[in-house]
Assembly symmetry: C2
Homo-oligomer: 230 residues x 2
């Protein structure tokens, strides 16, 4: 095994927590009373369906920033949030560029990097992932994104495209993710898999099912993953 | 300006010096008497013409590793180098993954990285650039390659594709290179340019002309570039 690829939203960074945190500031500065936990959950809930619309050709290919913005515009109406300028909306949309990592992430990646090539493998666009890494100090060796393949996970083109671009057999690449459907899809392409549950991703209710014994590794967090891969 | 992109072969790494160094080992272990300086220069000289054949459709799109291998097979015949196994040839072809940086590169990039997003912008394929960075400790924020755009520099698609992928205006991106033709092509796309001559690239004869006053910056090396961009 040469390369570890990582799902990002939920696995590496805490989207819900960061949106709540930035939302609290927005409530204060703009005099809003938004429930940002609910807002974050709904924003994220729109993500699967809107990618499906791209997959089925109902929407043209676009990067995740643009899909996030379509969803955001709907949510602003739904939550009756008025008084945001275009700059405010753009800034809020880019909260996905500023998501904060779980606390084990940087120490875990730093250890893993000594032995493996580390890459993102995310539906987030390249500029989003670069901004996030720069800000949070995530020590990736490279940024791989659905944007490079014009396919979103869980389409096989993403997993196989990553292996090919890295000049690896699929079995030389591992996907690390908190979401069994992502791991299952990677597994079907011949990749190895590490399941790292993130029980706080949705605020305490793990949404997407648990380990069923079919993953190569189940780890508590990235530091544990590094220990298991020694 | 947000992003510095870097030409790699010649600008960041010393391809001629590394090939000579590895060639000396090969002469010893395989009992060869090859002039590796000449070999390196000829290998590199084949690079422009073979990319042109891809550009004109005489060869299908392929990554630089594969173009290097086509050139290598011809050179092995021309230099009458026999007795290499397929593994030996593959290893020799991958010397481009092991090229060593000029000595100012790591300190210069380390300083520049505090302020800018740093990316490769090379005709080398992604896996080549990742291997090189890992080995030499080059602190890129991301790896951008001709491979992502299915165009080689100096085609405009590479420079404009990089800016677009980074969500930048061309004028927010600078190309750093030792080769005026690369810089001129970037300039024509609206990028900023920094010329860093590498007088030893060809062993003391600078091949590709000098500064003509049209580049935004002319720097002695990457440490000087960092000082000028403060």
């Amino acid at each position: 095994m040469k390369v570890l690829t990582f799902d990002v939203f939920g696995t590496v960074v805490d989207w819900r927590g960061t949106i709540i945190e930035e939302g609290a500031v927005l409530n204060r500065t703009k005099g809003l009373q938004v429930d940002w936990n609910k807002f974050a959950l709904q924003w994220r809930a729109g993500y699967g369906p809107i990618m499906d619309r791209v997959r089925k050709g109902a929407l043209p290919w676009m990067k995740l920033d643009d899909l996030h913005r379509l969803l955001l515009d709907d949510l602003l109406r739904e939550f009756r949030i008025a008084g945001l300028t275009e700059d405010d909306k753009r800034h809020l949309n880019f909260v996905w560029h500023r998501l904060k990592p779980w606390e084990d992430v940087v120490p875990g990646l730093t250890r893993l990097r000594r032995k493996y090539i580390l890459s993102t493998l995310s539906n987030g666009n390249v500029s989003l992932l670069v901004d996030m890494a720069k800000r949070a100090g995530l020590p990736w060796d490279l940024i791989l994104s659905a944007e490079l393949f014009h396919h979103f996970k869980t389409d096989p083109e993403v997993y196989l495209g990553a292996a090919k671009m890295l000049d690896c057999e699929p079995s030389e690449v591992m996907l690390v993710a908190a979401h069994p459907p992502d791991l299952k899809a990677a597994q079907a392409c011949g990749l190895r898999t590490a399941f790292v549950p993130r029980p706080m991703e949705y605020g305490g209710e793990q949404k997407a099912g648990g380990a069923d014994g079919s993953f190569d590794i189940v780890a508590r967090d990235f530091v544990d993953l590094a220990a298991q891969l020694k």
